[in-house]
């Protein structure tokens, strides 16, 4: 009897910018969690992890993170992944204000 598989997304950091990114179904990297491919099958998850990890000149630190289907696309389940979709809680910096790493955009 196999345990029910928790759906996953493939996530990483952008090599140049450092920003959190997610793998989409058509092999692009998106900054939006909701646009990620939600992977519902374990074997497929391992395959997609390899696909993501193969893109060594675009991303770093590729891994699978738990997620669930939401009304607008996949949503993170663990608080760490929730923070990664937003940015830090002490400043209005990062994704929560539509901002990337690097100097504040004018």
């Amino acid at each position: 009897m196999s345990r029910k598989f928790t759906p996953k997304v493939v996530t990483a950091n952008d090599l140049l910018i450092g920003d959190v990114v997610y793998l989409t179904a058509d092999d692009q990297w998106t900054r939006e969690h909701a646009q990620a491919e939600l992977i519902e099958d374990e074997a497929h998850a391992q395959l997609r992890l390899l696909d993501g990890a193969g893109q060594k000149n675009i991303v770093v630190g590729v891994y699978l993170a738990d997620a669930i289907a939401g009304p607008n696309g996949p949503e993170p389940t663990h608080f760490r992944e929730v923070f990664r979709t937003r940015g830090p809680s002490n400043y209005a910096h990062g994704k929560q204000v539509g901002e990337q790493p690097g100097p504040r955009q004018p």
Partner: protein, 554 residues
């Protein structure tokens, strides 16, 4: 203050050039991440949760106004306008782009700064008492020794691949403000008869197995400093475990082999290498000492300060943020980077510039970064204090809370750190805000809260009077409290109080704890730590877990 000689300058420039090439090769794909990672770590560049992070060393916490302005410039040009000062006298920039890092390192080199050996299994930034050269209780300024150790350890060929990171701290006073007992090597200056030397501690450390350093040599004459430290590190280099990262620090080596065996091997190794030091290091030390000569202190009336004490706001600041200087006309100013509700240890580019200006005009051009994440003006003439206070206040830097409950050490935690298991910054912000609302903190008096966002203990929670450790318990943030820790010359590791608290329960729990202290202290002058030492865990546990107490009673 010490400035680079030609050798330092050439070395740092060469490193910047080298790393710029490495970044370029990473960007064009000719270096893989596996190849690049150790290289970037050697240069202080981490990848955190949301971005890269660059850690810059501030050796023994000493920095001049020009350097501080350059940090402001970097914060503004390549980051989001601020920097984070850490417990190891470093500054971290949280948002650099990979392509900008060479430019940042080059800007640092322009002012004699770098990020070398701020990461990796090397000898890290040597830290020192932030009151060095000014403290009343000081035997000697520890910074020349820290500088000597820095020069010896930087790029030392034998010590670039140690079993694990290696941290050294030095204090020149019997009162330990540099937490030397939680370092791999702690050096505490002492006097024996007419001679000055060091008590040498080894094997201190926090992290997952916190340990207090043990005395490996009770009195080390100054000329033996380098060969003796070299003996310790080289014994560790051989004995230290490389099979298990969690057992690799020297504290474990000492624990597993026993202090006596370590002592025996260190002394044997010392006897071997001592003759190879021909006194060149001592000549160097003399030059270094000259660079740390005290400033030309002014001789002037101090009544401006005495008059200003009539103002309660100034008075409160003077009570908490000033320390006794060895020159009675002077004071040591601690600038609090702990304004209630702000992020502990953060300063904006504007604030950095204000501090640089003040240091230049009123503090003989000196600034220090403390391990408690504050900034120190070590030499301010008392007549200038009212002006300094006014300028600090205008920049949001006049908070009167040094040593109080809102002067919290907090690591970056899960707001930035990829290793974190919970957040620490918002917990610190909320505790400070809560006690500000209650107007209780001056009544509570000296109390050190220290918060880490995971077991690595970067926030020193083990040595906080109240320590808070953030964990991930079944997918939610959970905070464990330790009590009675102490990071001074009477160092102890705190004791766990009991089960942890959820994110929204931790601030009320701390409030109950502090109220319990107010109830049971013998008199207002008995500090939290003294009360804890007198009464033990009992009354605090009862306050933390009232329901259980009620159950037991039933």
């Amino acid at each position: 203050m010490y400035s680079y000689n030609e050798f330092d300058e050439a070395f740092v420039r060469e490193r910047v050039a080298q790393f710029s090439q490495q970044v370029a090769r990473r960007i064009d794909g000719s270096l893989t991440e596996d190849e690049f990672k150790p290289l970037r770590l050697m240069n202080g560049l981490y990848l955190q949760l949301h971005a890269y992070m660059l850690r810059v060393a501030i050796p023994y916490g000493t920095i001049n106004p020009t350097q501080m302005r350059q940090l402001a410039h970097i914060a503004q040009t390549w980051d989001k306008g601020y920097g984070h000062f850490t417990t190891r006298q470093n500054i971290q920039f949280n948002w650099p782009l990979l392509k900008d890092v060479p430019a940042i390192l080059s800007a640092l080199a322009d002012v004699g700064m770098h990020a070398i050996q701020t990461s990796g299994n090397t000898i890290r930034n040597v830290t020192a008492d932030h009151f060095a050269g000014a403290a009343e209780d000081e035997i000697e300024d520890p910074r020349p020794y820290a500088e000597l150790l820095r020069q010896w350890s930087t790029d030392h060929p034998e010590f670039q691949f140690l079993p694990r990171k290696f941290k050294i701290a030095v204090t020149g006073s019997p009162n330990d403000r540099a937490v030397v007992k939680s370092h791999d090597i702690g050096l505490r200056m002492i006097r024996r008869g007419s001679q000055v030397g060091f008590e040498v501690l080894v094997g201190g450390g926090l992290g997952r197995t916190p340990m207090i350093g043990q005395v490996v040599r009770d009195f080390l004459p100054i000329p033996d400093l380098l060969p003796y430290c070299e003996a310790i590190v080289s014994v560790y280099n051989l004995l230290g475990r490389r099979d298990n990262k969690y057992k690799a620090r020297v504290k474990i080596t000492v624990h597993e082999n026993g202090l006596e065996e370590i002592q025996r091997q260190v002394e044997a190794r010392f006897a071997e290498i001592r003759p190879t030091f021909h006194g060149h290091d001592q000549a160097l030390l003399d030059d270094i000492r000259a660079a740390f000569a005290p400033p030309a202190f002014r001789n002037a009336p101090t009544d401006a300060h005495d008059t200003a004490l009539a103002d309660p706001v100034y008075r409160a600041w003077a009570d908490t943020n000033l320390a006794t200087h060895r020159n009675a006309q002077y004071a040591i100013v601690t600038i609090s980077l702990k304004k209630h509700g702000e992020t502990p240890g953060d300063a904006t580019a504007h604030q950095m510039r204000v501090m640089a200006d003040i240091a230049e005009r009123f503090a003989h051009g000196e600034l220090r970064i403390s391990h408690e994440q504050n900034v120190i003006l070590p030499h301010v003439h008392k007549s200038d204090l009212p002006m300094v206070h006014a300028m600090l206040q205008q920049a949001g830097l006049g908070t009167a809370n040094v040593g109080l409950i809102s002067d919290i050490i907090a690591c970056p935690g899960m707001d930035y750190c990829a290793l974190a298991t919970a957040r620490s910054i918002p917990v610190a912000q909320q505790i400070a805000t809560r006690f500000e609302e209650l107007k209780l903190e001056h009544d509570v008096g000296p109390l050190k809260i220290k918060i880490s966002g995971c077991i690595n203990a970067c926030g020193h929670h083990h040595v906080g009077h109240i320590g808070i450790l953030g964990l991930d318990r079944a997918g939610v943030e959970n905070y464990q409290i330790t009590l009675g820790g102490d990071g001074t010359e009477t160092a102890v590791i705190g004791e766990r109080a009991g089960p942890g608290f959820a994110y929204d329960e931790i601030v009320p729990a701390i409030e109950r704890l502090v109220r319990a202290y107010l109830d049971v202290r013998s008199e207002p002058s008995e500090t939290f730590l003294q009360t804890y030492r007198r009464l033990g865990l009992g009354p605090f546990k009862a306050a933390l877990y009232p329901a259980e107490g009620a159950q037991d009673a039933a």
